[in-house]
């Protein structure tokens, strides 16, 4: 980090509880522009709760979230959300709308009709043919649906892309392909991306900064390289150990397979 990149998003001492259970406690964090941040942790660690404070699907009980210089609570939630892309595990394509209508919903809400060429362009971004525009969601595979989900999130030219376990429900091959696509889009469109995942391998491979959460707090804030080098403390290292062991075991298998041949 030779010079300070502009902070796009800042969590200031945010906390939130659900029915007496602390989900996020007094957390501070700055997300700089253009970064790809992975929020990793076990279920219930508070990572999704922290993410949803950004687009106000759940406001903090205390503290504030500053996006592009102002408190997210200064604007009406609907207006705020149109400035951010949101992709989540449930995808949530509107079943009564065509793919084109789904993708164009954000602009439509803002009072602009997305043109056919714009829809084609967005479909192309997520590597789908323009013919998909007139299909209905139920005619698509799971991977295709999440691609449409990503295209819908990008339709409003957001600066910030929020992803909550975006590939959680996909098979490994689809998951890998879509992960790579999103990473490429991140660079190509100059996005700032925050991705919640419980899969450390995914975080290490896609992100350039990994935040590890446990019991409502950020317990590690490292680059993937630093984590692989053993930094970030016990909790982070326990999560890193899983893919590392798998990689080692696979590597050990490989010569055997070679010998058997």
């Amino acid at each position: 980090m030779d010079q300070d990149p502009a902070p796009l998003l800042r969590f200031e001492n945010v906390s939130k509880s659900f029915a007496g259970t602390v989900a996020v406690s007094a957390t501070n964090c700055v997300i700089t522009q253009d970064s790809f941040v992975a929020l990793v942790g076990a279920s219930g660690s508070g990572k999704s709760t922290l993410l949803k404070m950004v687009n106000r699907l759940g406001d903090p009980d205390g503290g504030r979230v500053i996006f592009e210089g102002s408190d997210v609570r200064d604007a009406p939630p609907a207006a705020l959300r149109r400035r951010m892309g949101y992709v989540f595990q449930g995808v949530g394509l509107f079943p009564h709308m065509t793919v084109a209508e789904n993708i164009g919903i954000g602009p439509r809400l803002a009072g602009v009709k997305a043109t056919t060429s714009r829809i084609s362009e967005l479909l192309e971004l997520v590597e789908l043919e323009p013919e998909y525009a007139q299909r209905m969601p139920h005619e698509l595979s799971g991977g295709q649906r999440q691609r449409i989900g990503v295209a819908r999130a990008l339709a409003g030219d957001p600066h910030l892309l929020l992803m909550d376990e975006p590939f959680g429900a996909l098979d490994p091959v689809t998951r890998d392909g879509l992960g790579k696509s999103v990473r490429a889009l991140h660079g190509r469109l100059g996005l700032t991306t925050i991705m919640v995942t419980h899969d450390m391998a995914e975080a290490l491979l896609l992100a350039d900064r990994v935040l590890v959460m446990d019991s409502g707090q950020i317990v590690a804030d490292e680059t993937p390289q630093a984590l692989l080098a053993g930094k970030g403390g016990d909790i982070a290292q326990a999560l890193v150990a899983v893919p590392r062991e798998q990689a080692r075991a696979l590597a050990k298998l490989a010569p055997d397979i070679g010998a058997a041949r």
Partner: protein, 514 residues
Amino acid sequence: MNEILTIMAGLGDKLSAHILLAASALALGISVALPLAVWASRSPSVARIVLGFASLIQTIPALALLALFFPILLSLRAVFGDGLPTLGFLPALLALALYALLPILRNTVTAREQMAGGVLEAADGVGMTGWQKLRLVEAPLAAPYIMAGIRTAAVWTIGAATLSTTIGQPSLGDPIFAGLQTQNWALVLAGCIASAALAMIADALLGTIERGFAQRKRWMVWGWMVLALAGIAAAGYAQRPNDENSIVIGAKNFSEQYILARLIGQRLENAGYSVEYRNGLGSAVVHEALTSGAIDISIDYTGTLWTNQLKREDNPGREAMYNQLVKWERETSGTLVLGRLGFENAYALAMREDRAAQLGIETMDDLARQAPRLTIGGDVEFFERPEWIAVREAYGLKFDRQRNFTSTFMYDALTGGEADVISAYTSDGRVAADRLRVLEDTRGAFPSYDALVLISPETAQDQRLVQALMPLVGAISVEDMREANFAVDRLEDKKSPAEAARELANKIAAEPPP
């Protein structure tokens, strides 16, 4: 079959009234249920309360719910003034709309619960406002479910609307109730077939609209919706008020009332009036309908008014009772008691001749001694009536069993041995035809039941009308009335009330009153 078809061909007026009532109730039900459902979908506690209330309403029999609106509206007159109708369209509309709530509410709330959580989260996530979410996502996704609820509600409403006859609202229930009363099964069937057919047509129409919503075919939704609305509009056109000045004659739900209503109606038509009939009104409802002007003319009985309206339990004797009644009607509401028709339709206890002879019963005192071993049958309201309570106490009557029958079946129950004693009516043709023994009321416990013609306060100002009806006063003997009643009630060679009324009129003309 031909007879049924002929009757059905004449039901156009009832049909259009039925359609208008059911459609209005459904529209009101929808316009209340949908906002409530939206509210309920945003708050589980509201959902619990609203659905609980709607389910509770559903447990009230439709007939009772309709009748309950009479006292409710009557008490609301304190707020809205005396112009508030307590009978007819308004109470029927309100009761049926309440009835329509549950299926619409339940389906709408279920639709919201069935909606995949992801879709709602996505709606928020893409930046929809609450209203946009409702309009663009929740409403279109819930539409097929809501439509299914509306469809169920429509079928229920059309069925239950037949019961609105009892509170003075014309509907396809009119022929059903009239037919049940006079054992004219063709009438009953015609009414049932018509209302069932209407329900099936509505169901098919709304079903197509529902499919249109589910398959997202707009032309299907709009096309069939226009068709449904056209049907309702046609009914509205048929029901447009064409004659504001017609005289409305009310009749309670038994043959004598139907016949006398026709007798009066025919006289008025001869005098150049146009006439409408409201048949099958509940006994308690008729008097209120008359004093409030919902109907213009009714036939009632001294004893009935004495106990139900004046709330009196004493028995001052026939003449005194009549004179006090006339005065009371004039002073409390301005209703005109035109006069007594000349016969009594009193309550009396009757037994089969052979059974009475076998048990040696001639008077009510004899009956009281044997009562603990006997079964008494009464019409549906008899055992609640103050007259019965007075008689029971005067003689110390205590029966082994007490059974309710509709007045038509009561006589069959007696001849069939299912009851030993029944509450008979003295003017009933079946008393003579079934060879019944009317037990002597030695203590004079039953009040007298002189048949009266009552005219509403406003219509009583019409001297020409009053003069046209005056010749009926004192003109009908109990024998003539029995014969007319029997002509309608018997199973062979049955007459319609209108035919019996014409025969009765001929007799009156042939033997002028002394």
